[in-house]
Amino acid sequence: MEELLKNYQSVAEEHAINWIKVGQTDDFPENAGACVKYNAKQIAVYYFTRTNSWYACQNLCPHKMEMVLSRGMTGDAQGIPKVACPLHKKTFSLEDGSNLNGEEYSIATYPVRIQEGNVYIGFAD
């Protein structure tokens, strides 16, 4: 199971070498998540309308290793954009993937770019 986690490492925008087009902006729901696939990876994508920001992270919740985060509710904690896992409501920052419940595990995040109505996610591989 832990093998699965190794598949997901955070990518900083400046380290992204591969920008993958995953759809058009209107393929994604507003203020909620949807999932995309890139090779063996499942990536959750969120669009926050109030700040017009996009976020991407692993779809795998590290708590019980299930592919569910794209189906979680979004929101913010003290201004930090976050997602709550639909299984046990563990919450993670969408800015840096850190765990907002004070537990040890965290998630990988990926940069998102919007160009001409298309959504791109940056990968390092």
Binding site: K64, M67, G75
Partner: protein, 836 residues
């Protein structure tokens, strides 16, 4: 570093460790604790709950990790066999020895076993440790297999009655034998004992008073007990709970001063006759007494810790033996001197045999001071009376108001406000926390809520009996500081659910963004979004499809997410009635999509293991066969369970199935602060378990009795009667009013039972609102419900008919693939998720 050895890891021994661990000079001590039992210290006060808990660990006062984290060496299963005072050493049964600078005797007590002939026969037990309870349970199981069900408890004191309750919980027919002419002779007078006896006997137990046991008879095991008055009692088991004896063997052996009837002599510093040795808890003989209650034991532990750390804390000169508890389901309390009778004292007593309540207070002749009292059947006044007594406060003009309540006019607490108590008033006697400490923790700014206060002062963290008073103090103190105490939804909305409900309605707010713009801040979160979704649903009857992103994750996909991220599907089966044809459709759909199938507690069928993209296909097939969403995923009406009723049942009075279907059809899709369940039973045998539901209807001669605010789950509660002998229409009318009133006023995720608990005035007030229409809103409530009922739509059907909504169920935006990461394992001819 000073070496401290604690002998005994019971409740008081543990309290010593806890107090020392928190002491500022903690680092000057090296602590080793010896416990003879194999478990770390556990809660003996709640021992009888062991049978209902799934694990003994839940009774532990602290885990082994706690001792390790606090640098305390815990040696359980190890017995100290001797103390050598000259060399300051203790020896274990393994012949090891350990040196000490301070030795703490917290060896507690052992059950007193009277020397009755035959007391060593199989089937005779004591009641003290978890091992005792295990042995009792094993023997009871064996008896039951042999068709024997008779148990007796020797001892009608506090612990004896606890033991009797435990035996009853094991399914045994239980008798209690007491030597004294009354129950709980140290706490109750004759009238109180009589009241308690009739309450206990109404539960099927028998009480035998004034019985002196002569001999225990039986061949292979106990069969009967003979008494000195030539009578006898058949019994298959005997639990002895006839008092305690201090475990002072070690002290006697090493020459410490002990009492004639046992116990290690201590002064008010808890020092024994050897100044390096302290004794605390039930082994300590203080002021010529042994105190079998937790509170004095805890105080002793605190004194001993303070003393070895060089402090000057002394034990109170007189020990308060006041106690309040629930015995065999009956509230019992006794405080101060419960029996005092002389020329200077007047006793006022109140007895109500119909309600099973007895109260007595002893006051000074001039009516100025309270000296003690007794309560059976209703101890709700205990906290107030105890404070008046312990602080020697002045009594109201008519002291009888203290137990009768003031008659006529506004009912008011005899204390006036909790803030009127002196700062020294002890609010939590288990943890010795005063009113001053609680109030200071708030006024200093360290605490702002009840839970802050519990965390910081420990008040109310032990038995919880003072919780109402601590809550009142917190609220009153905050109020006195000009702070409003309010439960807001979350950081994004500074309003309670009820206030948001009113705001949305008043300003006709139509969606979440608008609510956030006008009354909130930020993006919202997983707390406030579902609350607002529920409010929109309750006001506009909108389904979960209109604002899908703010729905809780299950509502967003109209199904229940399960362990591996797949979903379960529950179609509505109103009243649990289903035709064979429809049943076959469920079977066919389950088979086609390879779904694990199980029957739910609410008389429907749950189909598990559906993948996100399969949900619309499954719904389509179900809808075509005439099914609708069962809303099993929502905080909404689930099911109205029914028994088969008068159409088939030879006992049934009315047609419960038809009425259950009518009710379920009426309220289906209704969203509420928490899930709602209902039940309809065709007679008082109550096979639909309607009183375990948020609303329950039970057929009686002349109509339906309506019960509200019950639930099963973690804190089971029986629903309470709201109205009786109603016809169908009136019953529905009251239900409409009740449900809308609840939906409007409850807190988020508050089910009906805790809502009623919080509702000022309780069930009587609710009756006034719903039945007598005291607020004049009945018509409005009914009209609102009517509107909601008329706007019902099946959300599954809505979802599959709209291509835009269908996008939700596509697993990947950029691929037509389905999720291939799912793994199932086989079990009993079906499939299961692989375990975590």
């Amino acid at each position: 570093m000073k070496k401290v050895i604690v002998i005994g890891n019971g409740m008081v021994g543990y309290k010593f460790c806890e107090k020392l661990a928190a002491h500022p000079l903690r680092d000057q001590f090296e602590v080793v604790v010896f416990g003879e039992e194999f478990r770390p210290a556990y809660d003996r006060v709640h021992l009888s709950e062991y049978f209902t808990l799934d694990s003994a660990d839940k009774l532990l006062l602290a885990s082994r990790d706690w001792y390790a984290e606090n640098n305390i060496t815990l040696r359980t299963g190890e017995m100290i066999t001797s103390i050598e005072t000259e060399t300051k050493r203790v020896f274990t049964h393994k012949h090891d020895y350990f040196e000490y600078d301070y030795l703490i005797l917290a060896t507690g007590s052992a059950p007193f076993v009277p020397s009755i002939k035959g007391v060593d026969k199989p089937g005779v037990f004591v009641y003290r440790t978890i091992e005792d309870l295990d042995a009792i349970k094993d023997y009871a199981d064996k008896l039951k297999q042999e068709g024997k069900f008779k148990a007796s408890v020797l001892g009608g004191g506090l612990l004896g009655l606890e033991a009797a309750n435990a035996a009853k919980e094991l399914g045994l027919q239980t008798d209690v034998i007491e030597f004294a002419p009354r129950l709980m002779p140290r706490q109750l007078d004759k009238a109180a004992s009589d009241m308690l006896q009739s309450k206990i006997e109404s539960l099927g137990m028998k009480i035998h008073l004034g019985k002196n046991s002569k001999e225990i008879m039986g061949e292979a095991g106990i069969e009967k007990i003979d008494f000195t008055d030539e009578t006898s009692l058949q019994t298959d088991m005997l639990i002895i709970s006839a008092g305690i004896r201090p475990r002072d063997e070690l002290a006697v052996k090493c020459g410490l001063r002990t009492g004639e009837r046992g116990g290690v002599y201590v002064n008010n510093k808890m020092e024994t006759s050897d100044p390096a040795i302290y004794a605390i808890g039930e082994v300590a003989l203080y002021n010529n007494g042994i105190y079998g209650l937790v509170a004095p034991g805890y105080e002793m532990a605190a004194v001993a810790v303070d003393q070895i750390a060089g402090g000057e804390k002394l034990m109170s000169p007189s020990i308060d033996m006041s106690t309040q508890l629930k015995l065999v389901g009956t509230e019992v309390a006794s405080f101060g001197d419960p029996f005092i009778e002389n020329d200077e004292v007047t006793a006022i007593a109140y007895e109500n045999k119909q309600r099973g309540v007895y109260k007595r207070i002893n006051i000074t002749k001039d009516g100025s001071k309270l000296l003690g009292g007794i309560m059976v059947g209703d101890s709700s006044d205990y906290n107030t009376l105890f404070q008046l007594y312990i602080n020697a406060m002045k009594l109201p003009e008519n002291p009888e108001d203290l137990i009768l309540g003031s008659r006529g006019g506004e009912s008011k607490s005899a204390l006036g406000s909790v803030l009127d108590l002196p700062d020294t008033a002890q609010i939590c006697s288990c943890e010795a926390v005063s009113k001053g400490t609680i109030c200071d923790s708030i006024t200093s700014g360290a605490c702002c809520t009840f839970s802050d206060v519990v965390k910081s002062t420990k008040a109310s963290s032990s038995c919880g009996g003072c919780k109402p008073m601590v809550t009142d103090l917190v609220t009153a103190t905050l109020k006195s500081m000009g702070q409003e105490v309010k439960e807001t939804i979350c950081e994004h909305f500074d309003y309670s659910r009820q206030e948001m409900y009113d705001l949305v309605k008043l300003h006709s707010i139509m969606d979440f963004d608008e609510a956030l713009d006008r009354h909130g801040k930020g993006h919202g979160c997983e707390m406030c979004k579902p609350v607002l979704a529920s409010i929109f649903a309750s006001i506009y009857m909108e389904t979960a499809n209109r604002q899908a992103p703010i729905q809780d994750s299950n509502d967003r996909f109209l199904a229940n997410i399960q362990r591996n991220g797949t979903y379960s599907v529950v179609p509505r089966v109103p009243g649990g009635e289903i035709t064979p044809d429809k049943l076959m459709v469920l079977g066919q759909v389950a088979k086609k999509y390879d779904l694990y199938t199980k029957i739910t507690g609410g008389q429907r069928i749950d189909l598990f293991g559906a993948q996100l993209h399969e949900l619309p296909m499954i719904w389509k097939e179900l809808i075509d066969a005439g099914f609708e969403s069962g809303h099993a995923y929502g905080k909404s009406l689930r099911t109205v369970k029914s028994c088969v009723g008068s159409t088939w049942c030879r006992y049934g009075l009315h047609d419960s199935v038809s009425f259950a279907i009518r009710i379920e059809e009426r309220y289906k899709g209704l969203r509420s602060p928490h899930k709602l369940k209902g039940g309809v039973s065709g007679c008082i045998r109550e096979c639909a378990e309607a009183r375990g539901k948020d609303f329950g209807v039970i057929a009686v001669e002349g109509g339906w009795n309506l019960f509200v605010c019950g639930n099963g789950g973690a804190t089971p509660k029986h629903a309470i009667m709201l109205a009786e002998k109603l016809d169908d229409e009136t019953c529905i009318k009251y239900l409409d009013r009740f449900l809308v009133y609840y939906i409007r006023t409850a807190a988020p995720l508050q089910r009906t039972a805790p809502w009623l608990d919080k509702l000022e005035g309780g069930i009587d007030y609710l009756k006034k609102v719903v039945v007598e229409d005291s607020l004049g809103i009945a018509e409005e409530l009914e009209a609102e419900m009517e509107e909601l009922v008329n706007q019902y739509a099946c959300e599954w059907k809505e979802a599959i008919e709209d291509p835009q909504m269908m996008k939700r169920f596509k697993p990947f935006v950029n691929s037509e693939e389905t999720d291939d990461s799912l793994v199932f394992v086989p079990m009993r001819d079906q499939k299961m998720p692989r375990p975590w």
